[in-house]
Amino acid sequence: MTESFKLAVVGGQFGGLTRDLDVPASAPALRGAGLGTEGAVELFGDDACPVAVAGTRTKFAREENCGRCVPCREGSKQLTDLLREVYDGAYRREKLGELARVVGETSICEFGQAAARPVATAIAEFDAEFAAHADGRCPSGACDRGGR
């Protein structure tokens, strides 16, 4: 089955990005693998770009958060901006990781705690693709086509 997809998002809108679905379908195991526990498993083929997938979801968090706590409200804004900067040639891996960690650990509710998961898992799993974007290249071609 691993042959037939490039990446999966496990756990809905704010699920974790993974190449490998060889994880027992239990909450502790999914959590241990950095994946979400609710909702669907979405599969993406070779034409999907993990940077774009993470970016879309982070932008969704930025637009749809309730606005109450700082890490979620401001954090999702800065995460989105940092991802934009990747396209502009600056991939700040440490900064992204740090921010995703704080948003995930200190947001008040599940929304913010989960909102950082796509970015956090994407940079862990697809580091090279982020670096490629900073060099002006989308390996999957999705970003050049303007698609997601």
Partner: protein
């Protein structure tokens, strides 16, 4: 179901409520939030003792113990590790605000739960907490930078510079370059909302901590602010659909500005106090677009302020769109009745100023923006913080900060006044321990009502009558003139031809000296004060029944009782901070019964509001007592052990059956029953009242009836219960009675006819005080009319406006042989004076005030008195010495020492003790006595320790509505003004809230009369007529109209009766008069607005 609907679907909903509904009516702004961890709330509860025991935990390895129910932030503070834990949204005072736990700059690591927010996480036994764990430090630093990323970092132009919690946090945590930058995209700035007269909102500096929203909803219980929007669009908005502060329902209590951690909500007076002192470097110029405030007219800018003009609040706002604020002010001033050279020059000055400003403004704006962006691009933010903070500290250091007691009402709020030597800039909370009545609360007058001190109208030099006007004089000349004038009358007609009026606004020390001046220096028995016109019936009734003429309990008890009966008190407007405590307690479950002819603000919060017929209060109060006795709900053991005359009471109330009460007072039987049952069965109950009980021809009977009810139900002599007259003036308790400013008592309520008392005063003063009871204020006016009183010395009073039937009172004043007025303005009374002496306001002197709960508190001097004006005690001392006595007080503290040596209830009170221990509640007989929080826990103030039931007789008002005058007029206060408005009519912001007199008319009555909302109407009684704007509202009942008491134009006391007084207390019947109302029409014959009534 029709077959067109084959599939299951969401049912039709009439109103799907896709967003939160907007409402004009009150709804707590955070009510839709789930209660966050109720146990956390208790963590900051003052009543921690309710859950005894300590919890032990370690903070960074250090063992600490805190009270159970506390949160981790308390433990972190206890360990002294809070310097690195910003906790920006956490407010550390009171238990109404937070924990909101939204900024997440207080994250700490725990062994058991990982990262947790310290501000809201409850302490646990044995928990190990680390503030410096890498994850915790990282979380706090990142979140602090995230807060800064949405903050407009313009410290040098910010009103909170030097006292900003975000600035402090950034400095404490060595923020140099915030990771995510700061908000400096000029295009995304929100305009400053400067539309409120008192509070500036700069949302660009808002960190959305929600403190202001909770202050507004949970502390003030006013329901104006809310958080609106979501995500990036989250902002502080209004619960009504208002867009600006001025259009909102804001009452300017100032709590929001008090608790705001940043420069988002700033007291306007302080907006430029700590900024870089370069012209143009202002918050307004920095941000750019501003929604400006349109100023109202005041007593200083117009002879008839705001009359005939439309402005503000609910009225047309056209002035904003077309005309600029400047032009509006100009044209307003032009059309005002300001006349002569002064008027012309004032207008010219304003115009010149406006032109110069216009030209200068553009240049400055450019300079400021250039400097700002240069600074932003060259300096790291950390340096900016340090520079700005140093400027702020320096400039704040140049300001005076004076802890003092409020000079408006008698709640006795304490706070710190920020001032230069000659101007009050703002008021901020004092230490919690220094402010027992209010903590960090204020009302609009206490927080913002100080412009009067700098008014151009202030008296700065003594004045002596010169024909129809006055000429300026030296102190020597003026005081000589006073000494000659008074002694001349005394030589001719004896000392009792002179009367002195003390003031409930002056300090205890000054009023003590005024009565000493009358009794020792002049030898007259005639000394009284304006408390005669407010709570004298309360004092008379309480002296007869329980023994002391004062509130039996603490404000703390009023805040914590289980049940209230409030009647004749417009608490939210007259005693706002006290009302705040009541509203909070009712919200938390206490029962509140309000009986009042008018549906006043506090009634909106009531469990039950009953509208009563004005003037028939004894009926329903006796009816309650009857119901309690009839149904065996009375406290039999208490009555048996602690009272006399129960049988007489039972007999007297017998006729007041529920049916009789309904017929007489209009209270339905079921409302009477519910109130009686709840009050009688409550564990504790506070009976609160004010002028609506006392200012009647049978005011004393009203209060007797209330006292009887309190005694029958046993709600007295214990915590959280008692008889609570809400007193009016800042020092009406002390200066209006305690210190002997009454014709029948010497200081400490000692009988003037008691030879032993007179002996002790003779020993101290060298002169025996007159042993007869002197004249009350109304008696003085009556005797003056007959020519028996020929001279008056009026200190800080305005009888020309406060006396009933002022036309008559003014004639009396005009006919006096000699009138001295000592005040801070040329009041309506001073216009009749022979000599006017300029005095210092409460912000300009030291001394003490005694608040409504008998608490004596220090007053501090924040400003210098203007010109040659002097504190009243110094003036009295000079006069006494001119008249052959040898007074030698160096400071008001010396006066207090003399007062306490002569008055047993003040025996243990001295300025030194007040300084070190805070306010003391009398009786405080000696230096070791801690003061008396509530009275009568070990018996009543009679020889045998028992209270007396004094059955109350039903009376009728002096005037009943008839064919000619079919409406009943009632008078009272509004939130934004005080007494005769001498002070508040000079404060622009207060005038912009309520700028002129008005009459409230019930819609049914208005329809009958053909009156429409907002038109001018004539209100006429047998005694006079006024023209005021009509407000059609159902606050008063049908057939009842209401006019406020604060205005010189449309003065209600042109209508009230002077002949109907309470026979026991001498209080005039301000609360009932018969009137008729007629519309003035669009084209009145003469201009009815500019002419002051009564001239």
């Amino acid at each position: 179901m029709s077959s067109d609907d084959p599939l299951p679907r969401v049912p039709d909903v009439a109103d799907p409520r896709p967003s939160s509904p907007l409402t004009e009516s009150f709804a707590p702004g955070t009510a839709n939030d789930p209660e966050i961890r109720p146990e956390c709330r208790e963590g900051v509860d003052a009543n921690l003792d309710a859950r005894p025991g300590l919890v032990h935990l370690t903070i960074d390895g250090e063992a600490v113990a805190v009270k159970s129910g506390a949160t981790l932030i308390d433990a972190v503070e206890t360990a002294g590790a809070d310097g690195d834990v910003p906790a920006l949204c956490h407010y550390d005072r009171g238990d109404e605000i937070g924990p909101r736990s939204e900024c997440r700059t207080c994250m700490v690591e725990t062994d058991a739960h990982g990262l947790v927010p310290a501000c809201s996480f409850p302490v646990e036994e044995g928990l190990s907490v680390s503030t410096d764990a890498p994850a915790a430090t990282e979380a706090r630093d990142v979140n602090l930078d995230l807060v800064l990323s949405d903050h407009n970092l313009r410290c040098t132009t910010c009103g909170k510079n030097g006292r900003c919690e975000l600035q402090d946090a950034a400095i404490d945590n060595d923020v140099s370059h915030p990771r995510y930058g700061v908000l400096d995209d000029r295009g995304s700035y929100e305009p400053i909302d400067d539309s409120s007269p008192f509070i500036q909102i700069d949302r660009n500096k808002c960190i959305l901590c929600n403190r202001c929203v909770e202050a507004c909803n949970d502390v003030q219980v006013e329901g104006v602010l809310r958080i609106e929007g979501s995500g990036d669009d989250t902002r502080i908005g209004f619960q009504s659909d208002a867009e600006t502060m001025e259009d909102s329902t804001c009452v300017s209590c100032g709590h929001c500005a008090t608790v705001c951690p940043t420069g988002s909500l700033v007291e306007k007076g302080l907006a430029d106090a700590s900024t870089l002192p370069i012209p143009g470097f202002t918050q307004k110029n920095s941000v750019g677009e501003v929604v400006e405030h349109v100023p109202a007219e005041t007593a200083d800018t117009s002879d008839a302020p705001n009359r005939g003009k439309r402005r503000g609040r609910g009225g047309s706002r056209d002035g904003r769109g077309g005309e600029s604020g400047e032009n509006a002010a100009d044209s307003a001033a032009e059309s005002a009745a300001q006349s002569g050279v002064a008027g012309m020059m004032a207008r010219a000055k304003r115009r010149a100023g406006a032109k110069a400003r216009e030209a200068g403004e553009k240049a400055l704006l450019t300079a400021e923006h250039a400097a700002e962006s240069a600074a932003a691009s060259t300096l790291p933010e950390g340096v900016l913080f340090d520079v700005a903070k140093r400027i702020g500290d320096y400039r704040l250091g140049k300001l005076n900060r004076t802890e003092t007691t409020c000079g408006y009402c008698a709640v006795g709020c304490r706070f710190e006044v920020y001032s230069t030597d000659d101007e009050v800039l703002g008021v901020r909370a004092a230490d919690e321990s220094a402010a027992p009545a209010n903590d960090f609360s204020t009302c609009v007058k206490g927080k913002f009502g100080y412009e009067f001190a700098n008014s151009d109208g202030r008296l700065t030099t003594p004045l002596i009558r010169d024909g129809d006007g006055f000429r300026e004089a030296s102190w020597d000349e003026a005081l000589d003139r006073v000494a000659d004038g008074l002694s001349g009358i005394i030589d001719d007609s004896g000392p009792d031809a002179v009367s002195c009026f003390a003031s409930s606004k002056c300090t205890n020390e000054e009023d003590y000296l005024m009565q000493k001046f009358a009794r020792q220096v002049l030898g007259t028995k005639n000394i009284d004060n304006c408390a005669r016109l407010c709570h004298s019936s309360t004092v008379a009734a309480l002296l007869q029944t329980v023994g002391y003429g004062a509130m039996t309990n603490r404000i703390e008890d009023v805040a914590n009782t289980d049940c209230y009966l409030i009647t004749g008190s417009n608490t939210t407007e007259s005693h706002p901070v006290l009302a705040t405590r009541i509203k909070q307690n009712v919200r938390d479950g206490a029962d509140l019964f309000v009986f009042d002819p008018r549906k006043v603000g506090i009634a909106e919060h009531a469990t039950q509001y009953s509208r009563v017929t004005p003037g028939f209060d004894v009926a329903w109060i006796n009816g309650l007592t009857r119901y309690v006795i009839e149904n065996d709900l009375h406290d039999e053991a208490f009555v048996e052990a602690h009272t006399h005359n129960f049988a007489e009471l039972a007999e007297k109330v017998e006729p007041f059956t529920p049916e009789a009460v309904e017929r007489l007072a209009g209270v339905p039987p079921e409302e009477l029953a519910r109130a009686a049952e709840t009050i009688a069965t409550a564990d504790t109950c506070v009976f609160g009242w004010a002028m609506g009980m006392t200012q009647h021809s049978h005011g004393t009977q009203n209060v007797l009836a209330l006292a009887n009810l309190a005694l029958v139900t046993g709600h007295i002599g214990k915590p959280n219960a008692g008889l609570s007259p809400f007193r009016g003036h800042n020092n009406v308790q002390g200066g209006g009675g305690d210190v002997g400013t009454l014709p029948n008592t010497l200081p400490g309520y000692q009988d003037v006819t008691d030879p032993d008392v007179l002996d002790s005063f003779e020993a101290a003063w060298g002169v025996r005080p007159p042993d007869e009871i002197g004249l009350t204020v109304p008696e003085t006016f009556a005797e003056a009319e007959k020519g028996n009183v020929r001279g008056m010395y009026v200190m800080g009073e305005n009888p020309a406006l406060s006396e009933p039937d002022i036309d008559d009172a003014r004639e009396v004043l005009a006919d006096l042989d000699f009138l001295v007025v000592q005040d801070i303005f040329v009041t309506e009374t001073a216009e009749y004076a022979d000599v006017v002496l300029p005095a210092a306001s409460f912000a300009e002197k030291d001394g003490t005030f005694t608040n409504t709960e008998r608490r004596v508190q220090l007053v501090g001097k924040a400003l210098d008195a203007p010109g040659d004006a002097r504190p009243d005690w110094e003036i009295l001392q000079d006069l006494a010495n001119r008249l052959g006595f040898d007074w030698a007080y160096d400071h008001p503290a010396d006066v207090m020492d003399e007062l306490s040596s002569l008055s047993p209830i003040y025996g243990g009170i001295s300025h030194d003790r007040l300084e070190s221990e805070g306010g003391l509640q009398w009786p405080c007989p000696d230096d070791d006595h801690p003061g008396t929080p509530y009275l009568y826990d070990d018996g009543f103030n009679f020889e045998d320790g028992k209270a007396r039931f004094v059955p109350a007789d039903m009376g009728e008002p002096g005037e009943l509505p008839g064919e000619e005058y079919p409406l009943t007029l009632s008078s009272g206060r509004v939130l934004y003004h005080f007494h005769t408005g001498t002070l508040t009519r000079r404060v622009e912001g207060l005038m912009s809230h309520v700028g002129e007199s008005f009459v409230e008319i019930h819609p049914e009555t208005a329809e009958t009369l053909g009156v429409t909302d907002d038109e001018y109407v004539q209100v006429e009684s047998k005694r006079g007529e006024i023209v005021v704007r009509a407000q059609v509202t159902d606050r008063p009942g049908p057939g009842v109209v209401f006019v406020p008491m604060h205005f010189a134009h449309g003065a209600v006391n042109a209508l009230t009766q002077e002949d109907t007084v309470d026979p026991i207390s001498g209080i005039p019947e301000y609360k009932v008069a018969s009137v008729r109302v007629t519309p003035v029409g669009p084209d009145p014959d003469a201009d009815p607005l500019g002419s002051a009534s009564g001239d």
